[in-house]
Every structure is written in structure tokens, then in C-alpha cells.
Symmetry: C2
Subunit: 224 residues, 2 copies
């Protein structure tokens, strides 16, 4: 009934957002044959401070050895478990434009527990009617395929005007987690988790910093 206390304890949002990065860094170490890492080494590889890393890991449990470090393989397994990557996550992507096709083929979307289980578009013949091994289905098939393939995560890569109706269709079909790349704020029924990603925003933030540097007389001390 009860898992480890540390597992059941709530993990902060900020920590969850960094765990995938730790996992990626650990995979790099494993591929290089490294068996053990210190928090300092792993933190550097993940782009954070070692205290940050240790505090984050402390939310999962005590998987390190004092005076020594962390065993690479073991820590990777524990983080995967915490993130829920030990189970399989079928994903559906709606909107087979440039971005949709790119995501369907993107390794970060097709590894680590995730696999593209269905693709949808108004025009199912777009781009040859398939991406890799997966056929593109018409929207009329959305409900049936999502149910039969037990898809719990949906990705929206349609133009903004279509995004809300796609969101509604996904929610009605039983999807509970939606990743929205369309530039629109979606409303979904309670119990459906929507997360928006705006690639343009990142550019804007960069431009803002760039402009700030320009407006300074001395472009010195821009570190961190």
C-alpha cells in the first residue's frame, strides 16, 4: 500500500523539471563507461550547482554513498522510477505540419518510456501519409484510437485557431495530459492537465537580454 516515504512525499515542481536533465547526464556518463560520479561532476554535466543537485535528489531518497558519490546505473534507475519512465507512455500528436512531423521523429519524444502511438491531421495524406513507421490518421479516428491504444498524453501542434477544438476532442476521448505548442491559451475540464510551450517566447527572452547588454556602456560582468 505505502511506497517509500520519500517517494510518496511531494516532489517540488522545480525539482521535477530538472530530473530529466540529470537523467540525460547520467546516460552520458554510463555510455562513457563511468561507474560512479560525485554530485559535483554530475551537477556540472547537468548545468546546475552541486548543492542544487543534492537537494533535488534528497526529495527522492538517499541513493548516494557519503564520502564516495553516486553509482551511475542505480541513480538513473531511481530517477526513471520517480519520473514514471519505467512504464510505457503512448503519445498522440495532432497537427502534422513541420513542427508535428519534427516532434514525431524527435528522439526525445520517442525514448525514455515514450512512444508515438498515433498521429492525426485534417489531411491524413500530408507528408506521404506517415512519419517513420506511424500512419497519419484522420481526426474522425481520434476518439477510437486514443481509447483502443490507451493513450494518456496528447500533443497539439496545430495552428492556433484549431487548438481549442482539438483540446476538447482529446479531453472527451479521455486524455488527461496535453502538451500544447499552439500559440493559444486552452481551457480544459478539471482533471485534464495542459502544459503550454511557446518556442517564440524563448527567442523573445534572448532578445531582451541582448538588448540590455547593448544598452550598457561596459559589456562586462555579464556572467551567469
Amino acid at each position: 500500500m505505502s511506497a517509500d516515504a520519500a517517494t510518496r512525499r511531494e516532489i517540488p515542481d522545480a525539482t521535477v523539471a530538472r530530473l530529466p536533465e540529470y537523467l540525460r547526464a547520467l546516460t552520458d556518463f554510463a555510455e562513457r563507461g563511468t561507474k560512479s560520479v560525485s554530485s559535483e561532476e554530475l551537477a556540472t554535466a547537468a548545468g546546475v550547482r552541486s548543492t542544487q543537485l543534492r537537494k533535488d535528489l534528497s526529495h527522492l531518497g538517499s541513493y548516494g554513498v557519503r564520502g564516495v558519490g553516486y553509482e551511475v546505473d542505480h541513480l538513473a534507475v531511481e530517477i526513471s522510477r520517480a519520473l514514471g519512465l519505467s512504464q510505457d507512455w503512448p503519445v498522440a500528436i495532432v497537427g502534422m505540419g513541420n513542427l508535428g512531423r519534427a516532434l514525431a521523429a524527435y528522439s526525445g519524444f520517442t525514448s525514455g518510456g515514450f512512444h508515438v502511438a498515433a498521429l492525426f491531421d485534417d489531411d491524413p495524406t500530408v507528408g506521404g501519409g506517415r512519419v517513420g513507421d506511424v500512419l497519419i490518421s484522420p481526426m474522425s479516428e481520434l476518439r477510437r484510437l486514443i481509447r483502443s491504444r490507451r493513450i494518456a498524453i496528447g500533443v497539439i501542434t496545430t495552428p492556433a485557431p484549431s487548438a481549442q477544438q482539438v483540446c476538447d476532442a482529446m479531453a472527451a476521448a479521455g486524455i488527461r495530459s496535453i502538451l500544447n505548442f499552439a500559440p493559444a491559451v486552452l481551457t480544459a475540464p478539471s482533471g485534464v492537465n495542459v502544459r503550454r510551450v511557446d518556442l517564440g517566447t524563448e527567442l523573445h527572452v534572448l532578445a531582451f537580454r541582448e538588448m540590455q547588454v547593448d544598452s550598457l556602456d561596459q559589456p562586462v560582468g555579464v556572467a551567469r
Copy 2:
């Protein structure tokens, strides 16, 4: 010499990250012919609370009218100015795989002050040798084109193993802001701003929440 006090005052990171969203919402209102909005209306359209919006805007200055609201066009101009979008930002994208081509054609990357000024790949014939109007150039041309076209922002969409050397080349050519989509942590000289975006991370965070809901006996109160 000195701009408005509010403009010169430092704007919090979190606020800067939300300004593009406000701008998008304002554009929607403008297209619908709306002349004036309250903080409540605009906040809803942007997916935040009205107090959040007002606090954010207070960092830029006082652009609203008490008892009335904000004039759509005027506020849009002020936010654009604060973000530095009133000037032109030439952008270079390196790595013309699926993601690179998608970004080159993505409207969020080609509007609001930004325009794709150069594309690069090891194999400049990939995808027909061009995306839209822009030719794909070989990496040997990177330094020359970045300098002659005064490109200050670079986007990396190569595989992870190539990312660091692309970053080095960009920095050497004088680029000061880099958006990195490759799953690797890059080191750049001081004065060069690197921002990493991992599309896979978003999926991981979603899966984590999904799993948390699954593990609860009562899937109630998942709101917010």
C-alpha cells in the same frame, strides 16, 4: 542618455518570460477590433491572474487608465519596446534536420522583430538546399555570413555531439545569444548568453503528473 526610470529599472526574469504571452493576447484583441481591455480580460486571455498581470506591467511603467483599463494598441507598443522588438533581430539556425526546418518556417520565429537571416548545415543540399526563401549554407560560411548580416542570435538544432563545436563557432563569429535545442549542456565564453530548451523535458513533467494522479485513490481535487 537616461530612459524612463521604469524602463531602466531591472525587470524580473519571470515577468520578461510572460511579456510575449501578453503581447500575443493583445494582438488577438486588436485583430478582433477591441480597443480597450481590463486587466481581468487580458489576464484571462493570457492564462494568468489579473494581479499578476498588473504587477508585471507595473515594472514597465503606468500604461493603464484607472477606472477604465488599457488601450490595446498602446500597451502592445510599450511591451514590444520593453522586449526590444521594435528593432530587427536577424537569426541564424544551424542544423537543418526536422526540427531546424520546422523552426525556420515557424511563424513565432519569423515575426515580431525576428527574421531568419541564415541557415546552416554540414550538408547544404539537405531538404532541397533551402527553406522558404532562405538558402542553406555550408558551415564554412558561418563566420562570414554572421558578420556580414550582423546576426546576434543563433539557434542550434544539431545532434548533441555537434552542439558544442557549433556553439564555439558561433561565439567566435561574434554571436552573443544562443538558443540550444540539442540535448547537451554547452559552455560558452563569458558575455555569450546560452539558453537551453528541451522538448523532451516537457513530456517528462507531464508524465510525472499523470503518474501522480494514477497513484491517488481518489482522482479528485486535481484543479489549478
